[in-house]
Amino acid sequence: MIRLVLERTVASLVVVLGAVTLIFLILNWLPGDPASLVAGEGASAETIEHVRIQLGTDRPLLRQYREYLVGLAHGDLGRSYVTREPVLAKIESQFPSTACLALASAAVAVALGIGMGVLSAVYRGRWVDQVFQVAALFLVSIPPFWLGLLGILLFSVKLRWLPVIGRGGVAPSVLPVACLGLIFSVPLLRMVRNGIIEALDEPYVMTLRAKGLRARRIVYVHVLRNVLMSTVTLLGILVGELLSGLVIVEILFARQGLGRLAVEAVSNKDMPVVQGAILLTSVAYVGINLLVDISYAWIDPRVRVAAAGRAR
């Protein structure tokens, strides 16, 4: 098991390094000179040159890359071209909000997705199932900002139950979390429902039935465990999507967010900040996938056995 974790961690580090390198190359290949952007409109050639030396973008590309990696190894993400602040400080100011929103939304999505999925499968074809199916179709077709806007109008303006903006406390996060959680629960709902329905025809379920187990025990203990494998994979993808795709909802609810920071930095060619944001996102993404991999072993004994077999 430990060996499995180590293997995956090393592989993950390679992925992160690849992502950092790729983004470094892409940023340098994109048009636009960071120095003239920082110098601003109407700056003279002399000023731009001065800024270029200050930023260090006059150095050869390979050297910039090497120095960046050396800095990374020392935990130094560099300084923003635009504000000259340490990149880490900028990220620290924006990331917690994104992480909280993403994790809370994922938790809501999991609870709703699995709950509704199981009910839908158990009561297949009945009215509960039909209500969930229609709701899912509705939620999957609606863009998050639109659902958020409707939520604002109903719960904040009309009923005045919830604040629209703000920080700290649970109240300002209820609407964005509910809106994202609902939308992201749909793929989970569908996967769990279909997984259970398919599994109910599997031979092992027949065996369990033949053993005389109660239907409820079969679904909740045996079938659900099998379905969880694919659900966890999907969850990994969804959390990644949540971490990187919250920008619009963050802007709608006037929240801080890593996505906003990244978009702004890309636009200004503020390369250290973009690299920092991408680095963090890729670490989070890879970390989630690592957790997913490890959870396979926990959910499915076969993976454990296979890993142990290779170890021998």
Binding site: S36, G42, V82, T83, S93, L252
Partner: protein, 546 residues
């Protein structure tokens, strides 16, 4: 609830009042161009939460000399004071400067300063501080946006502790107008030295509110400056501001801004979307303050250095194919006025005679295009020598002020006459590269500025930025714009700029589109929110009815 017409009447009334006073340093009447009439006696205390459109930007750059971003100047105005204040009808009143004299040759401005002003950090404001500020703006190492506000600045001489003389290498008429903008607000030299390049996150000025804290992307918290006793001419009261706290919340989404006003999370919000403006105007629970932003109006600039737009007849055919009245009405629902000149109407030298001087003429444009060899192809797009009549519009701003909605309407109008408009949305880096290389057919933009010299900032090859929207290089226009900033007599200046505007419109260098009216909606119990002559919000006289 003051509409544009009422606003203009107000200008006229104030102008008459101000003219009676005479001398250049005299106090004028009424600093605000528009303000909500206070009801009852103002009370001190309380917090105003102001939801403003700060775009998706996460970095609040609160250095008046550095920032080129209008939303940040809406915050800066409360932290930083200026030497002079702009009054209606192109007049200026005392603020941190008690009085001033301009030398007959227009190259030297001498200011007598107030001697009782302190920065928020406790240091004294004096002639040395004024010198520090202008030298800071001019220093090429700082690369500040405000550099273009001080033009041919040479140096500041400290005549005595409270007298400063600012010297220019040539006559410089726009100086007072630029001086009244927050972009030449006075920063604390001590703080600027201490914080260095981190000053934008530790702004220290002399304003009625001092900086308390900020949350990147979402909030800037200010608190009352208890020592404040140097309001500008025209303020409604003296002494410290009424509000104890003033909190700016960045709410970039317009629907959310309206929602936080309606659910009470904000006491006032700005830049109300047209559909809500109409509704809020008729509501008894809210009040609306509106003021024209002194601005180079949002205008379309065809690339005059590229075929086929080198030919003025092509540019004219393009303009004649547009029905701007219809487009502006459709998109802004009557809340923004149609523009006729690149200058907004309240800027010195605005040429009224341009109004109605050019009209849509689809048939005329079609005939001209036919004559020039652009024949309609099978898909409705005109073709010449196998080349379709494509117009690539390069943009980086997105739908701010509903500009992309507007372009969508224009695209349909143009298509009806055989033009094929494409919008190419780019990040600002790529946008600047493309505009500098001339790799576009059409650019569009605006620039907030209180003086007609903005035409030089946009159009003059020797003064504009390489990535600017205009690629015009017309010796006649350049000569006019150079003469304009050197001419000290307002009447002669007006004549010069009238000729320049007519030239820009006649040759279709710019196609002005709309006049931006800056709007603030406040709850009924929030009084005295004002919009200054430049079109920026002022909270010094604001108070909350308990």
């Amino acid at each position: 609830m003051i509409r544009l017409r009422a606003l203009l009447t107000l200008f006229a009334v104030l102008a008459v009042g101000a003219c009676g006073k005479g001398s250049s340093g005299g106090g004028g009447a009424g600093g605000g161009a528009a303000s909500v009439q206070p009801i009852g006696q103002p009370v001190s205390g309380g917090e105003l939460v102001f939801g403003f459109d700060g775009a998706a930007v996460t970095d609040f750059a609160l250095d008046p000399h550095k920032s080129a971003f209008a939303p940040h100047h809406r915050v800066l105005r409360s932290i930083f004071d200026s030497l002079v204040v702009a009054l209606p009808a192109h007049r200026y009143g005392p603020w941190l400067a008690k009085s001033w004299q301009i030398s007959p040759d227009g190259r030297s401005y001498t200011f007598q300063l107030r001697d009782d002003v302190k920065f928020h950090d406790g240091t004294k404001f004096d002639a040395e501080a004024v010198k520090f500020n202008f030298d800071r703006v001019k220093d090429p190492k700082n690369a500040f946006f405000s550099t273009s506000d001080i033009g041919p600045y040479v140096s500041t001489t400290v005549v005595d502790a409270y007298t400063a003389r600012v010297e220019f290498s040539e006559p410089y008429a726009p100086f007072l107008a630029n001086l009244a903008k927050s972009s030449l607000g006075i920063v604390s030299p001590a703080a600027a030295r201490t914080y260095g390049d981190q000053f934008p996150h530790h702004p220290v000025g002399t304003g009625p509110f001092r900086f308390k804290s900020l949350d990147p992307a979402t909030e800037i918290a200010l608190e009352r400056n208890p020592d404040y006793k140097w309001p500008p001419a025209g303020a409604a009261h003296e002494g410290p501001a009424w509000l104890e706290r003033l909190t700016f919340k960045n709410v970039p989404e317009e629907a959310t801004r309206v929602a936080v006003l309606l659910n009470g999370q904000a006491g006032a919000v700005d830049l109300i979307p047209p559909q809500n403006l109409v509704e809020l105007r008729s509501s008894a629970d809210y009040q609306l303050v509106e003021g024209e932003l002194l601005n180079h109006n949002y205008s379309l600039y065809l690339n005059v250095q590229r075929e086929p737009w080198k030919d003025p007849r092509m540019r004219e055919a393009f303009r004649k194919s547009l029905d701007l009245d219809a487009a502006v009405k459709t998109v802004y629902l009557g809340t923004a006025a149609r523009a006729w000149s690149p200058l907004s109407p309240s800027i010195l030298g605005y040429d009224e005679s341009l109004e109605g001087s050019w009209k849509p003429d689809r048939a005329g444009a079609a005939a001209a295009l036919d004559e020039l060899g652009w024949k309609t192809g099978p898909d409705g797009v005109r073709v010449k020598d196998g080349k379709p009549l494509t117009v690539v519009f390069v943009d980086t701003q997105g739908n701010r002020e509903k500009r992309l909605d507007l372009m969508t309407v224009l695209r349909h109008q143009l298509h009806d006459n055989g033009f094929d408009l494409h919008t190419d949305s780019e990040a600002s880096g790529a946008y600047l590269a493309k505009s500098a290389a001339g790799d576009f057919d059409l650019l569009a933009g605006s620039l907030f500025a209180p003086d007609p010299d903005v035409l030089r900032r946009i159009n003059s090859p020797s003064f504009r930025s390489v990535g600017g929207i205009s690629k015009v290089d017309d010796p006649a226009l350049n000569a006019l714009l150079d003469a304009g900033y050197r001419e000290m007599d307002p009447l002669a200046r007006t004549k010069i700029y009238e000729t320049a505007q007519r030239l820009i419109v006649d040759k279709t260098y710019a196609i002005p589109v709309y006049v931006l009216i800056y709007s603030v909606a406040a709850k009924r119990d929030v009084h005295g929110v004002a919009i200054d002559v430049n079109g920026f919000p002022v909270f010094y006289d604001t108070w909350i009815q308990s």
